[in-house]
Symmetry: C2
Subunit: 366 residues, 2 copies
C-alpha cells in the first residue's frame, strides 16, 4: 500500500521552548483541496500515540484512526475542507523526535532531544500549515493531547485559526493525570531494558512499555464500560507470558489488558512516549497569560466547540468546563457538550454515534 | 513500648477454601471488657495493609490506624464495647502468611502458601472471636477489604453477628478494581528482585513495591483532593533517587508519591501483599448464594450501616448501593450513607469529621 505521508523539511535551526534542533522533518497527510480564498483549511492535531493517518485516501487505502470523522460527506467533510493532519514533533511516525538521527552527531537523539513542549508541537504544525499556503485556518481540531496542542496553536498564533474543536482535553494538566503519566514514565525508565534511553530498536524496554500501556488502558476507558463488557467473567485461556506461579490470569479483564498491551510494545518508540507524555504534564495555558482566563482571552478565535465525556476521569468534565468558560469569557462563541459516552477518555475514537453529529453540526453551521 | 498483640494458635490443620495450613497463628488486640451476657463484642476487620493495632491502649500507647474511632467515649466506645481487631490471615503483622515459617518444612511459605480467600480471613477471625468466649458479635466492622471480609463472616456464620458496619467496600470486586490490582501485582512480579517470591527479607523487590504503592496511592485518593492540595505546584527539591536524566521530578505531586511510596517498601512483605490483593479480586458474595441478592438474604443480620464516599472510584457509590439494597432486600434494617468526603477511598482513615458521627450514631442507636 502506498504511503500518503508528505514531509516538511524545516531549514536551519528550529527553536524550541527549551532548546533547539537542526533541520527537523514534519510528516503530515492531507485530504481535499485548498480553495482559492485559502479559507477552508482544517488542521487536526493528534493525541499522544496516533500518526498523521487520520483517514484513508486514494493514495493510502488503509483505515485511519479517525476514519469515521474525516472524509467525503463525513463530519469533517473533505469535499468541502482541505484537511491536514500532522504527526507531532517528538513522535515516531515520520516526524523528527528522540528516535530520529541528530544530523549534528549522526546518532539518534535519544535523551539529547530537548525537553519537548506542546508549544513546540504547535509551532511545527504551524510551519506545515504555512508551507501549504494557508494563512488563517478555518478550524484547528485536537483530541486529548492534541486539544492542548491546538490551544497552544491559538495562543502562539492568535487570529491564525478562526475556530477550535477541542475534544476530551484541558487548558492544563491536573495533578491526578500528572501522577498517572509520571508513573507510566517511571515504569518505562525503571525497566533495565530502557538503558537510560540507549535500547536497540529491536530490543525495546518491553516490560516497562507493557506496564505503562496497561495503566494507560485502565485510565483511558471507564469502570462502567468494563462492568458491562467484562463483569467478573473468567479468562478462558491463560496467556502464558502473563502467568507466573499462583498469580496467573484469573479474569477476562486481565487477559484483555495483556493482549492489547502487548501490541503496543513494538508500535511506539519508548523515548518518544516519554517525551510526549511529559509534554502533556508541562502544558499550562496560563503560561501564556498569567492565568487561564487571561490566556484564553488572547486566542483571536471566533468560535469553539468544547466536547467532554461524563465517564472521562483523565480529562474530567470540570476541566472541559474550565476551558469552555474561559474561552467564552474571552469573547469566543462557545458550544459546550458533555457526552454520555461509556468509553471514558477514549470515547472520541470509539463512540462515533455520539461524536459525529456534534462535530458535524459544528462544521455544518460554520 | 510494649506490644499489645495477643495470639491465637490454631491447633492442627486449618482448612482453607483452596488448601490447608498447619497450626497457624492469628494476631489480635482487644480493648474494653466483655460483659457477662457476652453480647457487647465488636470485631474489626482491616483493609489490606493495616495491623491489628487499631487504637492505643494502656499496654501500647502508640497511635493506632483508627485512633479517632476506637477508644473510651469514641464512636466505637471501649467503655461500652469489647473491641477485637484481627490481623488478617495472610498478612505480616503477627498472623500467619506467606512470610511465615511453614512448620511442615521449616522454611518460609512464600508461594507455597495456599491461594488466599477472604473467607479464610473471616474464618480465622471467627476462631479468635470464639476463643474469647463470644458466640454472637454485637457488630462486625470492616473497611475496604475488611468490609468484604466482614460480609464473608456473616455469610459463613449466619446469625453470628447482629450488625454489620461496612465502609468503602463492596459485595464483589468490579473489573476496574481488578485491573488496577492485577497491574499492581504484576509490577511486583516483574521486578527481577521478586525472584519468584524468594527475595531475602532485607532485599525486597523495592522497585516493584514502590511502583505498586504509587499506583495504590493514586487510586486511593481523589483527583479533586489533589487539585486542591497540589494543583500545579512545582517540586522544591528533587528526590535524587527518583531522578533520571531529563525525566526527574517536576511537580510536587510526583515528589509526594515518591516520598510516601518509599516508606511502604520495607513496611509490608511483598508476597503477603500479592496474596491479599488477589484475595480481594476473588471475592464475590454471590459465591455464597448463586447471586448477590440470594447471598445477602442469608446473613442473619438485624441491621447494617453501609457507608461509601462520593469521590471513591475504587469502590464507587454504586457498589455501596448494590450492597445496601441487597441487604435490605434480605430483610436487614439498613442505614445507607454516601459521604461527601474529598479523600476518595482512603476517606475512612482521614475524614474523621464525617465518619465519626455516622458510625457513632449507628452504635449509639444500637
Amino acid at each position: 500500500m502506498a504511503d500518503a505521508r508528505q514531509y516538511l523539511k524545516i531549514d536551519g535551526q528550529f527553536e524550541m521552548v527549551r532548546g533547539e534542533i537542526t533541520e527537523p522533518s514534519i510528516a503530515y497527510e492531507t485530504w481535499g483541496t485548498l480553495n482559492e480564498a485559502g479559507d477552508n483549511a482544517v488542521l487536526i492535531l493528534t493525541g499522544l500515540s496516533p500518526s498523521a493517518h487520520a483517514a484513508s485516501s486514494t493514495t493510502d487505502h488503509s483505515t485511519g484512526w479517525w476514519e469515521d470523522m474525516v472524509g467525503p460527506s463525513k463530519p469533517i467533510d473533505t469535499n468541502r475542507f482541505f484537511v491536514i493532519c500532522v504527526n507531532s514533533l517528538g513522535s515516531c511516525f515520520g516526524s523528527t523526535g528522540p528516535a530520529s538521527i541528530n544530523p549534528e552527531s549522526g546518532e539518534k537523539y535519544r535523551l539529547d532531544f530537548p525537553v519537548l513542549c506542546l508549544e513546540d508541537v504547535a509551532k511545527a504544525g504551524h510551519l506545515v500549515v504555512k508551507s501549504l499556503g494557508v494563512d488563517v485556518l478555518h478550524t484547528v481540531v485536537g483530541n486529548s493531547m492534541g486539544g492542548m496542542t491546538a490551544l497552544a496553536y491559538t495562543l502562539l498564533f492568535p487570529g491564525k485559526s478562526q475556530r477550535l474543536v477541542s475534544t476530551s482535553s484541558a487548558a492544563r494538566s491536573a495533578p491526578f493525570s500528572i501522577a498517572l503519566r509520571s508513573l507510566q514514565r517511571e515504569l518505562i525508565r525503571k525497566d533495565a531494558g530502557w538503558k537510560d534511553g540507549h535500547y536497540a530498536e529491536d530490543e525495546p524496554p518491553a516490560t516497562g512499555m507493557l506496564m505503562a500501556r496497561k495503566l494507560g488502558m485502565i485510565t483511558y476507558r471507564s469502570a462502567k464500560e468494563w462492568e458491562q463488557r467484562f463483569g467478573r467473567e473468567r479468562a478462558t485461556d491463560d496467556i502464558s507470558s502473563g502467568k507466573s506461579g499462583p498469580f496467573g490470569i484469573d479474569f477476562e479483564i486481565e487477559s484483555y489488558l495483556e493482549a492489547h498491551g502487548r501490541s503496543f510494545i513494538n508500535a511506539f518508540d519508548a523515548n518518544c512516549y516519554l517525551y510526549l507524555s511529559r509534554a502533556m504534564d508541562l502544558f499550562d495555558a496560563s503560561d501564556h497569560g498569567g492565568s487561564i482566563e487571561t490566556a484564553l482571552a488572547l486566542t483571536g478565535l471566533e468560535s469553539a466547540l468544547v466536547i467532554g465525556v461524563e465517564t472521562d476521569f483523565l480529562f474530567p468534565p470540570h476541566q472541559q468546563k474550565e476551558l469552555a468558560t474561559g474561552l467564552e469569557a474571552g469573547g469566543v462563541n462557545v458550544t459546550f457538550e458533555i457526552l454520555d459516552s461509556l468509553q471514558g477518555h477514549d470515547s472520541f475514537l470509539i463512540d462515533m454515534d455520539r461524536f459525529r453529529p456534534v462535530i458535524g453540526e459544528f462544521f455544518g453551521d460554520s
